[in-house]
């Protein structure tokens, strides 16, 4: 399992377009991927879970992936969410 802390740098938070984009990225990987905000665990392939988690600009979250392509998955999401 790979984990990585990242500060959300999308100005509108992970709502609408960015939320949907996270799913598009996550779906490219076989690994199970979760986002953690506080004690909330969010499946990165579930767009409604991401939306309901109300993740905002400058929130600190943890990306966590488990599977054959876990390194690549975390890297791709970190790049998108943190920039």
């Amino acid at each position: 399992m790979v984990t990585k802390k990242v500060v959300v740098k999308k100005e509108t938070g992970l709502h609408a377009r960015p939320g949907s984009e996270v799913v598009d990225i996550a779906m490219k990987f076989q690994s199970d991927i979760n986002l953690k905000k506080g004690d909330k665990v969010i499946n990165a392939k579930e767009v409604l879970e991401i939306l309901s988690a109300d993740i905002n600009f400058n929130d600190e979250i943890i990306i966590e992936a488990n599977g054959v392509d876990e390194n690549e998955a975390v890297k791709a999401l970190e790049e998108y969410i943190g920039s």
Binding site: E11, G19, V23, D24, K45, V47, L48, S52, F57
Partner: protein, 570 residues
């Protein structure tokens, strides 16, 4: 008959009324005969809906529509959706439609329960998706915009954004919905696509197939049109189209005698950030900070505000950005700001009045603006100032905010410009005293007219009295403009609908307004109108209006002048 609603998308349209609500059968509450069959039917319905969305995505050019459709698709390709609905079918031994409904209702409730208006609006998108999957399950053919052959105005109790997911939108001349708001997806889409749209209309008054005229600039729907009226409307639309065509090349608001006016935009909506490069605006004349506060359960922190201001200021690349401090209260409520019950909210505890009482809260908001001023041409504006004392008190807090930043060695623009909204008649009357202590005025006509004429525009019995060409209103505006002319380094702008009104523009050019701040969608149009005028001549003309005693006389004269100067564009 004329129906007044909430204007959302600008523009004019004429087309046949087409109700698009597809009614679904009642949910089957009985025990299902074959659970396996229901699971298969549901899975097929989901797959068909996904395929529809994929086809739409492939056919679309518009980025906003594309991203909405991708969101819808992503909801359905969720790894758990089929499993979850299958579980509901097996648990309840129910038919697929009920299971689909239960599944989506849970999701909708989760979003609606959040204290975030933006996410509440997204719940409506999920309702659209539920509608689509259920339609597929029942084998009902939904309204399909691809098949439209004539011009229509789509009417619905609660319009879904699905109706716009097509590359065949040229036949959609307008959108009318009973429910919904400016920030709903359909609202945002019609604005960016340039389709006239009006919400809050009682659709019982409309009949399928009758010809409708939609005036998205005014928020009015007209039906029962006479032949003569139809002819008039067609001319009006042709004029608007002719104007729109020439707007593409518009860059500046330079009058025929070579005077340059500034036309900037009113914004505050993060979704408009991307459009700043596309529109030839000279700055942001009014950045409404409310939106950053309203959609939250706790006050936004300084860093967040700073980042938002900075991103706008950076994008403006040196053009001026006037940030108005929080204008809360009145009709704008916020969960963590306790205004208390008031008999007259518009005469109550709002804007600067609240902020001056909550010094730390106010200081935080000022610090965010000051920090951003290191990254662009930012100015500060206080709303709802009614006296010199309030202005001075606000400036004292601003000075403390500056000192805090200096102590922490954080950079900001030391000589940042500070101005006030002129929207309370007392301030307009004492403008000569006020201007001594500020760098600029921005005349807020929406409130100034309401307070000066003592008219609530929403009250249909008296709304006719809400009139910006009331001579009393004109005198206040003139006074606020005149006093700034004694200073070379001070300016006066206007943010409010009057600044984009073709007749208003004549009056304001003639009175010598420096800056017109208008809705981002009307920047080009405002520039065009100004560029058709001769400043010196307009000034002389406006002098002849100043002693007219009635609105009618003033408007008639303005109309005649507008016909001469604007010609085919009016």
């Amino acid at each position: 008959m004329e129906l007044l609603g909430i204007k959302v998308g600008n523009g004019l349209g004429l087309g046949k009324c087409l109700f698009v609500d597809t009614k679904l059968p009642n949910l089957n509450q009985e025990t299902a005969t074959s659970l396996e069959e229901e699971v298969i039917k549901v899975n097929n319905a989901i797959d068909e809906a996904i395929k529809d969305y994929e086809d739409i995505i492939a056919s679309l050019d518009d980025e906003d529509l594309k991203s909405l459709t991708e969101f819808n698709k992503n909801v359905l390709i969720s790894p758990s959706i089929k499993k979850d609905i299958t579980n509901i079918i097996n648990d309840k031994k129910c038919y697929g439609d009920l299971a689909i409904d239960i599944y989506f209702n849970n999701k909708i409730k989760q979003l609606e329960n959040l204290d975030n208006n933006y996410l509440k609006e997204r719940a409506k998108d999920v309702k659209d998706i539920r509608h689509k999957v259920l339609s597929k399950y029942y084998g009902i053919v939904e309204f399909n915009p691809d098949n439209l052959k004539e011009d229509v105005i789509l009417v619905s109790h609660e319009m879904t954004a699905n109706v716009l997911l097509t590359d065949n939108i040229e036949h959609i001349k307008g959108i009318v919905s009973e429910l919904g708001g400016k920030t709903s997806h359909i609202g945002i889409l019609t604005t960016s696509l340039g389709i006239p749209s009006i919400f809050g209309i009682d659709i019982k008054n409309l009949k399928n197939d009758e010809l409708l005229f939609i005036d998205g600039n005014k928020g009015i729907i007209e039906n029962e049109l006479s032949e003569e009226r139809i002819k008039e409307i067609k001319e009006k639309i042709a004029t608007e189209l002719a104007l729109a065509k020439e707007l593409d090349d518009i860059k500046e608001a330079r009058t025929l005698d070579n005077y340059l006016f500034e036309v900037s935009a009113n914004t505050g909506d993060l979704t408009e950030l991307e459009r700043i490069d596309e529109i030839p605006l000279d700055g942001i004349g009014l950045f409404r900070t409310e939106f950053l506060y309203l959609n939250k359960t706790t006050p936004p922190d300084e860093d967040y505000l700073f980042e938002v201001y900075k991103s706008f200021a950076t994008k403006l690349n040196g053009k001026q950005m006037i940030i108005r401090t929080l204008d809360i209260g009145g009709d704008k409520k916020c969960p963590y700001i306790d205004i208390g019950e008031e008999a007259n909210p518009f005469l109550g505890y709002r804007a600067i009045r609240y902020c001056l009482d909550h010094k730390d809260f106010f200081k935080t908001s000022l610090k965010a603006i000051l920090r951003a001023s290191a990254f662009g041409n930012i100015a500060i504006m206080y709303p709802m100032i009614s006296s010199i004392e309030e202005l001075r008190q606000a400036n004292l807090i601003l000075e403390e905010a500056k000192q805090d930043l200096r102590d922490n060695k954080i950079s900001f623009k030391e000589d940042i410009k500070v101005g006030i909204m002129v929207e309370i008649p007392a301030v307009a009357a004492m403008a000569d005293m006020m201007i001594e202590e500020v760098d600029f005025f921005s005349i807020g006509t929406n409130d100034l007219v309401q307070y000066t004429t003592a008219v609530d525009r929403g009250n249909t019995k008296i709304s006719k009295l809400y009139e910006w060409f009331n001579p009393g209103v004109i005198r206040l505006i003139k006074n606020a403009i005149d006093v700034t002319k004694n200073y070379d380094d001070k300016f006066v702008g206007m943010c409010g609908e009057m600044a984009a009104d073709p007749l208003g523009i004549i009056l304001l050019v003639g009175l010598g307004l420096d800056e017109f701040s208008v809705n981002i969608n009307t920047v080009k149009k405002t520039k065009k109108y100004i560029s058709l005028l001769n400043k010196k001549e307009t000034e002389e003309f406006v002098k002849t209006l100043l002693n007219l005693k009635t609105v009618k006389e003033i408007e008639d004269k303005l109309n005649k002048f507008a016909n001469e100067k604007y010609g085919k564009y009016y």
